[in-house]
Symmetry: C2
DNA sequence: TTCTTAATAGTAATTATTCCTATTAAGGAG
DNA sequence: CTCCTTAATAGGAATAATTACTATTAAGAA
């Protein structure tokens, strides 16, 4: 009995997200693959990205004033977003604190699946430009 | 020279957001006020909520699979979202760690304005229902 | 090779939010 | 208090992001 099928689209979408650090939006993933898969549907990209995010293979990150982004790196790290130019980058913290999940589970009664932290501010370039 | 005018809409929108702990969406704020302000425009609600969020009077929180929410409580705290029913609640941590902002500013070169952390999981009720 | 059906392509529909413009009204000046 | 400038609003159109729908395709088990 089949549960899930391996398609060319599926594996290419996963490779694309894993192969970049740009945290692409669904539309950007679609663009990245438009050459290799002729006729790739944006709906297919969305469906697969959502499945992969739900199964924990990738991360889906909701950002204010931006379409959702996807990250192939599921190791614990933060994200920083520039409010002016939208630049979106990783921040790897050697002391990344995962203990809060357990504390919150105990105190709130929730069963937690994940958390996402996004820092908002001005990137160095936009900071300079603003001063002019 | 005038810079900003105080309107009935503006003050009622701010009161509405500050007067609830439900983290309403723009549409929900619009609904809350539809009785007191006849003809209140949804665009006006969005515009004011955005201004207030930009000026730091309230918080705007982007959540996966949900329209943005607004919080009148700007004191440092986290949010927990139920992936099944969408329930959205506060989590006040006595040890809320704000030191990471400074560390990230130093290491990334960004000037940070704020950060938002959302925990995703299953609320106690949905957790029970799932087991049945 | 055949057959079942999961997955896709393509498009329509929905949702969330912003943009546009004529009109209203806040509040400073006279 | 009245007038005047223009910030802010109402209402609706436009845009952006994402999901839903359906006929068709193609995994992969038998």
């Amino acid at each position: 009995m089949i549960k899930e099928r391996n398609t060319k689209q599926k594996s290419l979408i996963l490779s694309a997200v894993r192969g970049t650090k740009t945290h692409p939006t669904a539309e950007e993933v679609h663009l990245m693959l438009s050459d290799s898969v002729q006729g790739l549907s944006l709906g297919t990209v969305y469906r697969n990205l959502n499945h992969m995010a739900e199964s924990g293979q990738i991360r889906r990150i909701s950002v204010t004033n931006s379409p959702d982004r996807f990250d192939g790196d599921i190791s614990p790290h933060h994200h920083i977003c520039c409010n002016t130019c939208g630049k979106f980058c990783d921040f790897f913290d050697t002391d990344y604190d995962t203990s809060l999940d357990k504390v919150i589970e105990e105190k709130s009664g929730f069963t937690l699946i994940k958390h996402e932290t996004v820092f908002y501010g001005l990137c160095p370039e936009c900071n300079l430009n603003q001063k002019n």
